[in-house]
Structures are given as structure tokens and as C-alpha cells.
């Protein structure tokens, strides 16, 4: 009809253009993956390089390198997912192990004290699903990951971590941790605050509040609170601090390093207002919910 020119004389019947069209289900990137991409975009824009590394790792990198005492309550078998098979890592760098053990036992520097806790290399070699992606940070800072870590540096990851926690609407056994750190000659609490203010403002979260807290591997340490853009509620959005000398010295780092971690899911909930993480993540997900989820950009 178009080629023959018949269209010139044709009568086109009217459609009901207001009627509903057939439903179409488009391909779609998972809403948490969209959120992760958004976070990665922001961090790359702020000068951060991405890290990668193993989900199954030695407790040495997950905890010992972070100056977490071996008898710390968070390291007991209830909270971590220890591996049964395989059980231990074969090789750890001897000199690094020695420096880390000394920091645990004696502290660092002439004015430092160690922990009055047992330290056993066998425990350090035991394998577990990482409880946080700070294990990647330990690998990068120590040079084990093979990256250049002469200051200044900024690194990040948005990767899975594992917690042996009760399952509910806001907690799963697996979650995405946004991990980031900055290394420079002199970093202060003000630099840390300025970095977070900038990061969160990218997501419309302003009025960040810093509440001093305690964490074994950072000092000072802060819980971060942000105001929900819609409800106005003050919500915990992350943990941060400046790495302790007892962590950095054994890893061979002479500059200051500030770091933070937060759950991607929490950020997404804050930004989009969705309420039950189980609809989204895992085999019990609801395809309808995912199909209806608003695009994150």
C-alpha cells in the first residue's frame, strides 16, 4: 500500500487511542544493581578506584589485619560463617603475620599497648565468608592485592558481605557493603566529615550527623546519621573512622587512612522508600515487585 501509493486514497479507521495497550514487560536491571551502579558512578566521580577480592577469605584478612582481637565477641562462631570445607588457608605472608601478631600482643610505637587476648595463627588461617568487605581494604593496604598504595589514594568496593543474623525485612544473610577509604599524608576528622557530606549529598541526603562511637580498628570512630528526604527521620546510614596505627603500621602504611562502610540496601531504602528487602534479593523475590520497581538513577 505504501509502495503503490494506494495510501493516498485510503480511509484510515480511527483507533481508541486512550484505550489501554497490551502490557509489556521490559528487560530490566535489578533495582539493587541499579543502585550499586549509581553508587559506583558517584565514587568514581569522586576519584575512587574499585577494589576486588575473595568472598571466602582467611580470618587474618577479615579480622586480624584490622586489629580485631581474636576473642572479640564478633569473632565467635555464632556471628560468622566459618567454612567447613575448605577449612584453612595454606599460605599467609610470614612477615605480615609476624607484624600483625606483634601489634595484637604489644601494640605499636613506644606508647602503645596490646590486647590482653590470646592470638593463634591457626585461628587467623581459618576460612570464613567475609563479614565485611574491609577484608579487601586489608588486602589492598598490605600490598597483597598487588595495587599501588603510595599516598594519595582513594579506593572503594560495592560488594557482598555475609552476616549470621536473623532474617527479617531489613536483614538478610547477604548484603552489599559500600566500602571506601582515602589515604593521604595528613587526614583529619574534618576531611572525613567533608567526604561524607559530599557523598551523601549526591543522594539528596543532607544534614549528616556524626555520633562518636567505638570500633576496634578506627579512632576516632563515628556512626553517620542522615535525615530521610521525605519523612525527615534521622536514620543511621553508615560507620566511619580513621584507621588505628595498630592496624596501619603492620600493613606497612605510613600515611593516614580514613574509611567507612554502609549497607547499600539501607541507602536504597532511604532513597526509594521500599520496605522489605526479601522482595528484592534472593529466590523468594517477587517478580511483580521487581517489575514494578521504579528505576534508580
Amino acid at each position: 500500500m505504501l509502495a503503490s501509493g494506494e495510501w493516498r486514497d485510503a480511509e484510515f479507521a480511527d483507533y481508541n487511542v486512550e484505550a489501554d495497550a497490551a502490557e509489556y514487560t521490559p528487560g530490566k536491571t535489578h533495582v539493587l544493581r541499579q543502585a550499586a551502579e549509581r553508587v559506583k558512578d558517584v565514587l568514581v566521580g569522586m576519584g575512587f578506584q574499585e577494589m576486588e577480592g575473595p568472598h571466602v577469605d582467611a580470618d587474618f584478612y577479615i579480622n586480624d589485619c584490622l586489629f580485631m582481637p581474636q576473642d572479640h565477641p564478633a569473632r565467635n562462631h555464632w556471628d560468622r560463617f566459618a567454612l567447613e570445607q575448605p577449612e584453612k588457608i595454606d599460605d599467609l605472608p610470614d612477615d605480615l603475620v609476624e607484624r600483625v601478631e606483634r601489634a595484637h600482643r604489644e601494640g605499636v610505637g613506644s606508647e602503645g599497648d596490646g590486647y590482653h587476648s590470646p592470638w593463634d595463627e591457626e585461628f587467623a588461617r581459618s576460612l570464613a565468608l567475609r563479614g565485611h568487605t574491609t577484608s579487601l581494604t586489608a588486602r589492598y593496604l598490605s600490598g597483597v592485592a598487588g595495587a599501588d598504595v603510595e599516598p594519595p589514594q582513594r579506593y572503594f568496593s560495592v560488594e557482598k558481605a555475609y552476616r549470621n543474623d536473623t532474617l527479617d525485612a531489613t536483614h538478610l544473610l547477604e548484603f552489599f557493603q559500600i566500602e571506601g577509604w582515602v589515604m593521604a599524608e595528613d587526614l583529619s576528622v574534618r576531611d572525613l566529615m567533608g567526604t561524607f557530606r559530599e557523598f551523601y549529598s549526591q543522594f539528596g541526603i543532607t544534614d549528616i550527623e556524626f555520633k562518636p562511637t567505638y570500633n576496634p580498628y578506627t579512632e576516632p570512630s563515628f556512626e553517620l546519621f542522615g535525615r530521610h528526604p521525605e519523612t525527615g527521620e534521622l536514620i543511621e546510614i553508615g560507620n566511619s573512622g580513621i584507621f588505628r596505627p595498630e592496624m596501619l603500621e603492620p600493613l606497612g602504611v605510613e600515611a593516614d587512612v580514613m574509611a567507612w562502610g554502609l549497607a547499600l540496601e539501607r541507602l536504597l531504602m532511604l532513597v526509594t522508600g521500599f520496605e522489605d528487602i526479601r522482595d528484592v534479593h534472593g529466590t523468594l523475590c517477587d517478580l511483580e515487585f521487581l517489575r514494578d520497581a521504579e528505576v534508580v538513577y
Binding site: 521490559p26 528487560g27 530490566k28 536491571t29 535489578h30 544493581r33 551502579e37 559506583k40 576519584g47 578506584q49 574499585e50 576486588e52 575473595p54 568472598h55 571466602v56 582467611a58 565477641p73 562462631h77 560463617f81 566459618a82 567454612l83 567447613e84 575448605p86 584453612k88 588457608i89 595454606d90 599460605d91 601494640g107 610505637g109 606508647e111 602503645g112 599497648d113 587476648s117 576460612l127 565468608l129 594519595p152 538478610l172 544473610l173 582515602v182 593521604a184 583529619s188 576528622v189 574534618r190 576531611d191 566529615m193 567533608g194 561524607f196 550527623e209 562518636p212 567505638y214 579512632e219 576516632p220 596505627p245 534479593h281 534472593g282 529466590t283 523475590c285 517477587d286 517478580l287 511483580e288
Partner: protein
């Protein structure tokens, strides 16, 4: 523990600088004889002039439980027993100095070697019976699993405390108690001495008087509680660089005093402070902790944020970029991108896919197993992702079709050749569930995906237990077998309660490089 130490500091914050309670000299001694090797340490204090109402007694018990949970490592490292001193009988013996001395004995007892009436009970029980018959005993029985003899504390009347499990009823503290005996046992002297100091400070704050106790370890004698004040040398510059502000020495001294510390400036150009730290501050390990205290006293929220002037170049890892590009292509092909758990069960990962870890097939591998799984649904790390997608189909049969699902994610298997003994990889999986899903539909999408990445795809026939014989192919990319494509076996589909045909594929993301 840090919380307690800090709240104590705030309590004493009204007074400036370091506060150390005065103690009276010792009347009581703890004799240490034949204690279990696993729990060699003991410490203690006598508290006089206590006035406990219900609230004060509650808060004392709460403090005790907090210390048990934190510094005491659930009583394994240190456990506190608090007793009504009036109920203790220690024979008064004249010491060498002519002063009267009384003593209790920390020792070991055979599991069935003696009896006492524990708290919240009215029957005489042996320590072994307490562990099986008393609720508190059952709770802490694991702590003593390896002990040949059990820790026990005696006075002249007999056994009155069974640390770290439970006290005897005879010496129970009540609101009528006016004098207390505090004893702590544990595996580390430093730890129980600090716990003891915290309890003493808390009681001192309520107006009680602390009295020393002598601890006799054979030839060594300790006078406790240990209220030793430690000193750390803190550089002025470190305080300034940590907070990002300039401070006058007077200001630093003032802030330190407000934080419950004492600071003495030393030196001119290389200005440092000798900072005194009270005994309850177990959280101070390094000068940086003192700098943190000064920051808290200054008020961290008073600091003006600044963006660090540090120039760095941002970027993604190659794997991360590849994964994002492959995901975008899959979505363009019409797939719904999914996100499933990396932990799964052997049933879902293998059996319900008709696969065995020993098979020579995609997805078959020795899985990394979890020692104490959350539940039987999460016992291993998945060796492939296709089972996760089939489970999503199973849980969404009430949702509209077609259900074209894809996931790019983690899979792993035991592999001695890797650093951790677990080979981890990114895998690409997809399923097409619809009334007319066929091998061709799956292969067409797989071919399009490979075409987008300019890699060469071949699909030689293969057998795979999860797929229909004659309708499965090996995914060979650039000459390497990296996956499988085909129509899922009816037995797999039916087992997942799905009522439409399912075709799908899975292969290693790295093949698209």
C-alpha cells in the same frame, strides 16, 4: 566494655582530671591454692558502707552482666562474684604486723567433691549437679567442659562460690547488705583487675568505701584493687592533625581534664603531653585514643567539614565493567536481571537439578561448605546460578509469563590450586519460561550476546543431567568449553512446580573478554 569505661568517664567528668578513690588497707586475703590450670587468676576488693536500694542493686547487677558480656567474654575470660561480706566467715588471725587478718581461699574442687546451695535454688548440689540441674549452670556448662577440677571459693564455713558459673545462696547480696566482698576469677590478671576497678569505681560513685584485699599466689603477693594510673606521651601535633584545627597548649590541657585525664605539657618545639589515664579506661591503648578523647571534649560536631584536597583518579575494575556491559546486553535482549543468594543448599544446587557434585558437567563441583549454617537452606556456596533462577520460577508461578530471567553473579567451588582453596568466578545464567520456550530461543539469545562481545560461539551436542538429552549443547566460546545451553529436563521443571517449558544457559562471564 568501652561504653562502660566511657560512661564512667562522663560520670567523673564533673570533676576535672584523673580521680582515684582512696582505699583502706587490707583486712581480707584471698589464698590461692591448687586452682584449675585453665583459670589461674583471681582478684577482688572489699566494699564498705554500701547503701543499695532496689534500683542501685539492679544497676550493679546490670554492670556486672555488661562486664561479663564484653571484657569478660561471656565469663570465659573474667567473671565477677559479689557477696554479702557479713555472711562470710574468715577466721581472724593476727598477722606479722599485729593487725587482724581474715581470708578466703580460691581453689579447685572435684566436680562431685562438695556441695552448696546455689542462688535461686534451695537444694544442696555438687558443682557437677549445678551444671546439669540448675538453669544458670546449664547455660555456662560449656565453659568448664575441659576442666578436671572446677574453680571454687571457700570461707571457714565452706564452699560459697562456684566461678564462673554461680554464687552460693548463703552470701547473696540484698538491699540490706552494707558490706560487700567482690571477687573476680579469670584467665588473664590484667583483664580481671580492670573489671574489678570498674566495679569499684561504680560503687565508689555511690558513696561506698573501697578496701584493699591481699591476693596470695604462693610466693607472690598482690594488693588489689589495682588503681594504677598509666601515662602516655601524646604529641601536640598529632592532636592538631587528627582534629584538623590549631590548638593552644592550655586548651589541650583543659580539654584533657574535661575528658577525665590529666595532661602535663613537655618541651618547646616538639611539644608533647604526659597524659595520665585512670585505671577504668581500658579502651586507651595508644596516644591516638587520647587525641580522640580531646576531640570528644572539644565536640566533634563543632568541627567544620572540608573536602580533602587530595587528587586521585577514579575508575572501575575490568571485571566490574565487563559485568555491567554484559548485564546491559542481557537486559536489551529482554531479560529481567535478578539477584540471588550465593549461599544455597545441596538439594537446590544439585539434587533438584538432577546433578551430582561428581558429574562431569557444568555446575558439578565440590562445593565450599559452611560449618554452622543459618538453616538447611544455606549450607554451601552455589557452584552455579541456574538453580537459583529455577527457584525464582518456582516461587513465582502465580506471576505472569513469559518469565525471561537472567543473573550475573557469584559461583564457587573447592579448588586446591587457588590461594584460599576456593575458586570464585562470575557466572552468566539465563532462563526462558513460556509456553513455547525452546532450545532455539535460548541459543538465539546466547548467540546475540556473544555477537555483541565479538566472541565466537559454537554449540556442540553434550549430555547434561539437568537438560533433555539431545536438546543440550556445550557453550564453546573462542574454542573453550565454558558452559551449557539447552531445554531443561521435564523432571527438573516438574519438581519445581513449573507448568511451562524452560530453556536456558549458563557460562563463565570471563569468556566474553
Amino acid at each position: 566494655m568501652e561504653g562502660i569505661a566511657r560512661s564512667l568517664r562522663y560520670h567523673y567528668g564533673d570533676d576535672r582530671g584523673v580521680y582515684v578513690p582512696d582505699t583502706n588497707s587490707a583486712e581480707w586475703t584471698i589464698d590461692v591454692q591448687d586452682v584449675p590450670d585453665e583459670r589461674p587468676c583471681v582478684t577482688g576488693a572489699v566494699i564498705r558502707g554500701v547503701d543499695l536500694d532496689e534500683d542501685a542493686l539492679d544497676s550493679l547487677i546490670q554492670l556486672q552482666e555488661k562486664l561479663h558480656a564484653t571484657m569478660g567474654r561471656k565469663r570465659a575470660k573474667g567473671a565477677i562474684g559479689i557477696h554479702d561480706l557479713a555472711m562470710l566467715k574468715g577466721e581472724s588471725v593476727s598477722g606479722a604486723d599485729g593487725n587482724a587478718r581474715r581470708s578466703i581461699t580460691y581453689t579447685g574442687v572435684e566436680p562431685d567433691g562438695d556441695t552448696f546451695v546455689p542462688l535461686d535454688d534451695d537444694a544442696e548440689r555438687t558443682p557437677a549437679e549445678v551444671l546439669t540441674e540448675h538453669p544458670t549452670g546449664e547455660q555456662y556448662a560449656d565453659l568448664l567442659a575441659e576442666y578436671d577440677t572446677f574453680p571454687a571459693i571457700y570461707d571457714d564455713i565452706g564452699l560459697f562460690s562456684f566461678p564462673p558459673v554461680i554464687n552460693g545462696r548463703r552470701t547473696e547480696v540484698s538491699t540490706d547488705s552494707r558490706e560487700l566482698f567482690v571477687e573476680l576469677t579469670g584467665t588473664d590478671q590484667w583483664t580481671i583487675d580492670r573489671m574489678c576497678a570498674i566495679v569499684c569505681y561504680a560503687l565508689d560513685a555511690r558513696g561506698a568505701t573501697v578496701e584493699d584485699v591481699t591476693v596470695e599466689y604462693g610466693d607472690t603477693e598482690l594488693v588489689r584493687p589495682d588503681f594504677e594510673v598509666r601515662t602516655k606521651r601524646v604529641p601536640h601535633e598529632r592532636v592538631e592533625t587528627l582534629l584538623g584545627i590549631d590548638l593552644e597548649p592550655d586548651e589541650v590541657v583543659d580539654l584533657a581534664e574535661r575528658a577525665g585525664l590529666d595532661a602535663e605539657p613537655e618541651g618547646g618545639d616538639d611539644l608533647t603531653y604526659d597524659v595520665e589515664i585512670p585505671p577504668y579506661r581500658v579502651d586507651v591503648l595508644h596516644p591516638v585514643d587520647v587525641a580522640d578523647d580531646i576531640g570528644r571534649a572539644y565536640g566533634f560536631n563543632e568541627l567544620v567539614p572540608r573536602y580533602p584536597e587530595v587528587g586521585t583518579i577514579g575508575g572501575r575494575t575490568e571485571t566490574s565493567r565487563l559485568e555491567a556491559a554484559a548485564r546491559e546486553t542481557l537486559v536489551g535482549l529482554g531479560f529481567e536481571d535478578l539477584l540471588n543468594f550465593n549461599m544455597t543448599s545441596e538439594a537446590d544446587n544439585f539434587e533438584r537439578m538432577r546433578l551430582s557434585p561428581e558429574d562431569d558437567a557444568v555446575g558439578a563441583a565440590a562445593p565450599a561448605t559452611i560449618e554452622e549454617p543459618y538453616s538447611e537452606d544455606f549450607t554451601i556456596l552455589r557452584t552455579w546460578a541456574l538453580p537459583s533462577l529455577v527457584s525464582v520460577l518456582e516461587n513465582n508461578t502465580h506471576r505472569s509469563y513469559p518469565q525471561d530471567l537472567a543473573e550475573i553473579g557469584f559461583a564457587a567451588g573447592v579448588d586446591d590450586a587457588t590461594e584460599t582453596g576456593v575458586a570464585e568466578r562470575r557466572t552468566v545464567a539465563a532462563v526462558l519460561a513460556r509456553h513455547d520456550a525452546s532450545y532455539e530461543d535460548a541459543k538465539a539469545r546466547l548467540a546475540a550476546l556473544c555477537e555483541e562481545f565479538h566472541v565466537d560461539l559454537e554449540t556442540p551436542a553434550t549430555d547434561h543431567p539437568s537438560f533433555i538429552d539431545g536438546r543440550a549443547a556445550s557453550v564453546v566460546v573462542d574454542g573453550e568449553a565454558v558452559g551449557v545451553v539447552g531445554e531443561l529436563h521435564p523432571a527438573v521443571i516438574v519438581d519445581h512446580d513449573v507448568e511451562v517449558p524452560v530453556a536456558g544457559f549458563e557460562f563463565e562471564l570471563g569468556a566474553l573478554r
